[in-house]
């Protein structure tokens, strides 16, 4: 009975405790890494925030129209807060990966290695998206202003089309960078873009022939008005 007790309960328990004992230092290291990560992330977040305030990052975003876009999307936080928060969580994520690596578990190690090898692509994709988003806002607004000043009644539609095209382009580039359905994305983008151009050409040539005629007539009339207007603004 005593032998059975030892074999069935004591030995597995001892083995388990041994494994736990061997695992504890790794766990402790992970907790230390995570704690350091949280502290470091908090410090870097504060530093980044102060730096962004110093370089007037919020005003720059305001000028680029980013603040207004974020506000429209329900994001009420200032861009400097947003960026410092993203940096904070990115650092936490990196330290979490390092901490998981410290556990010295083979499947986890493999997962961490994969994540780290993927990180550069992820970063490039994020940068591409941010730059694409900024450019889309900038050119969208430039198109709107130019179209309104040229008295194009569908100015907003035109501006949205430009903005959407740039965002689509940036998304395609980001997905391509991430290696997600590479061929599908490129093909889908080419088909969509080509399709839009073809649709516009057909619409203008056939379906919207009257609208096109009206548009050109209006432009000619406006040019005529301009010619009639012989005063100098200066």
């Amino acid at each position: 009975m005593k032998g059975l007790w030892k074999t069935a309960f004591i030995d597995p328990l001892r083995e388990f405790l041994g494994q736990v004992g061997a695992f504890m230092p790794h766990l402790l290291v992970m907790i230390v890494i995570l704690t350091l990560g949280i502290l470091g992330a908090w410090g870097i977040k504060s530093m980044i925030f102060r730096l962004l305030v110093a370089i007037k990052f919020d005003q720059i975003c305001g000028r680029m129209g980013l603040s207004q876009t974020l506000s429209k999307g329900g994001v009420r936080e200032a861009p400097s807060h947003l960026v410092s928060r993203v940096v904070y969580w990115s650092i936490i994520l990196i330290f979490l990966m390092l901490g998981l690596g410290a556990l010295n578990l083979k499947p986890v190690d493999q997962f961490v290695a994969q994540v780290f090898s993927y990180l550069p692509y992820l970063l490039v994709a994020i940068v591409v998206l941010i730059v694409g988003f900024l450019l889309a806002n900038f050119f969208g607004r430039a198109t709107l202003i130019a179209a309104v000043n040229a008295q194009v009644s569908q100015a907003r539609l035109l501006a949205r089309a430009v903005r959407l095209a740039i965002i689509l382009f940036a998304l395609a580039m980001a997905f391509e960078q991430l290696g997600i359905a590479k061929t599908v994305i490129v093909a889908a983008f080419s088909i969509t873009f080509g399709g839009v151009v073809l649709a516009l050409a057909i619409a203008f040539g056939l379906g919207a022939r009257d609208a096109a005629k009206e548009f050109i007539e209006q432009r000619m009339k406006r040019n005529q008005h301009q010619k009639e207007e012989d005063f100098s603004h200066l």
Binding site: D58, Q59, G62, R63, M64, G65, S67, Q68, S71, R76, A78, S80, F138, R141, A142, L144, I145, A146, V148, N149, Q151, S153, A155, R156, R222, N223, H225, Q226, K227, E228, E229, D230, F231, S232, H233, L234
Partner: protein, 422 residues
């Protein structure tokens, strides 16, 4: 930076007393007359002066340089019998950004190289120029000790709308000098001032384009130059190219005014009231050609601008201005863009440019529909008014600009947090 051929031409001339500069681009139709008037003016009023005429051309394709070369004055025909120094003519292309300012830069370079005492610049599209303009622009410099002569014209009541509605009232309120045509196009100035202009590092900005006139006038004011005005009579010129982009022109002029505000804040902040500037020349009455204006097009531009730009201006313009703009009736019969609202719009745009609340180019270009709306309202209001009554309306507008200037001064350095913008 002068080309070798031009250098040798200048070396052969040596020194000169007077330089008259004419910037041009496809002005073959009118420039010959302008050159003849310059020749006659110099022969009549400055016969002993060593004079040079410089045509700084932007690559005209219509034979403008040939028109300059062929233009000559029959002195007997204008009853000049005395000995006259020959007029040297130089036609040269300018370098740099295409625009009037770059053409002026070339003129300043030649003025400096020839060590001239006095310069005058004239637009090439003038149809009403007479030889007397040369005397009126140059004599105050050569004989009266003035540094800068601004033009004073009789213009149609709706001609020069950027001048009348923005540049004149704003310059007057800011710097306290009542220069009626600060961007007139015809100026006289000393050779020393030309060298000062040339030395400034502004030739990569809007000053190289349409911003040159207001930059020269403001620089002369802030440098403490002795300034006067010359009564030139009627200003009649060829209509501008209809394809010329009003939005770009407005952005360049207004942008230059705003940039100058940044540069000279120490000067204009202290100015409390404006003073008149001496006006020389016999003030005669002239008949002005009627001009046509498309008010409906302007009202439509305002309507579309208000519809599309109000969201852009949220957080950029003050609540007071935004509410005022939202309350504007975009119909020609009811449109009333008051002086009070207009002054606040201009000041708010200046403040927004100063605080960099929006990309500068976008901000300035979004101003166009408001400008057109204001002009439409002004034209509708003064349709039956005489020239004198319209001048009085412009004076009233200037007084509103001056009255509300303390608001601009107070807000200039005041960092506000509007509409969630830091």
């Amino acid at each position: 930076m002068l080309q070798d051929e031009l250098k040798s031409q200048l070396q052969s001339i040596g020194q000169a007393d007077i330089l008259v500069g004419i910037p041009s681009y496809n002005n073959a139709r009118t420039i010959g007359r302008v050159v003849q008037a310059v020749g006659a003016g110099l022969a009549k009023y400055f016969p002993e002066a060593r004079a040079v005429l410089v045509n700084s051309d932007g690559g005209s394709l219509d034979g403008t340089p040939q028109a300059v070369a062929q233009a000559s004055v029959d002195l007997e025909n204008i009853l000049i019998a005395h000995r006259v120094n020959p007029l040297h003519k130089i036609t040269t292309p300018y370098h740099g950004i295409p625009g009037k300012g770059s053409a002026f830069r070339m003129i300043f370079e030649i003025a400096e190289a020839l060590k001239v005492k006095a310069c005058a610049v004239l637009d090439a599209d003038l149809r009403s120029i007479t030889p007397e303009w040369i005397e009126l622009l140059l004599r105050p410099i050569l004989k009266q000790g003035y540094d800068y002569v601004a033009p004073y014209y009789l213009r149609h009541k709706y001609d020069g709308t950027i001048t009348n509605s923005i540049v004149y009232p704003l310059t007057r309120a800011l710097y306290g000098k009542r220069i009626r045509q600060p961007i007139g196009g015809e100026f006289g100035f000393t050779g020393e001032l030309a060298s000062y202009f040339l030395a400034k590092d502004v030739w990569g900005t809007d000053v190289a384009r349409y911003g040159i006139d207001i930059w020269m006038t403001t620089t002369a004011i802030t440098r403490g130059c002795k300034i006067c005005q010359a009564y030139l009579g009627a200003k009649i010129h060829d209509p501008k190219d209809p394809a010329a982009d009003l939005s770009a022109m407005l952005a360049q002029v207004v942008g230059s005014v705003f940039s100058l505000m940044e540069e000279h804040v120490g000067v204009w902040r202290a100015v409390r009231e404006s003073e008149p500037i001496p006006l020389f020349g016999f003030q005669f009455e002239v008949g002005l050609e009627p001009i046509s204006v498309n008010v409906d097009g302007m009202v439509k531009a305002l309507e579309l601008g208000l519809k599309e730009f109000i969201p852009l201006w949220e957080g950029v313009l003050s609540e007071k201005v935004l509410n005022g703009l939202k309350g504007l009736s975009p119909s020609a019969s009811e449109l009333k863009f008051t002086d009070d609202l207009w002054v606040w719009v201009v000041y708010d745009f200046a403040l927004a440019a100063h605080r960099r609340l929006m990309t500068r180019e976008h901000l300035l270009r979004s101003f166009t529909p408001l400008y057109l709306g204001r002009i439409a309202s002004f034209i509708l209001e003064t349709q039956q008014s005489s020239h004198e009554a319209v001048e009085e309306r412009i004076e009233a507008l200037c007084r509103v600009f001056e009255r509300d200037k303390p608001h601009l001064v107070q807000q200039w350095n005041h960092q506000v947090n509007r509409g969630g913008q830091p």
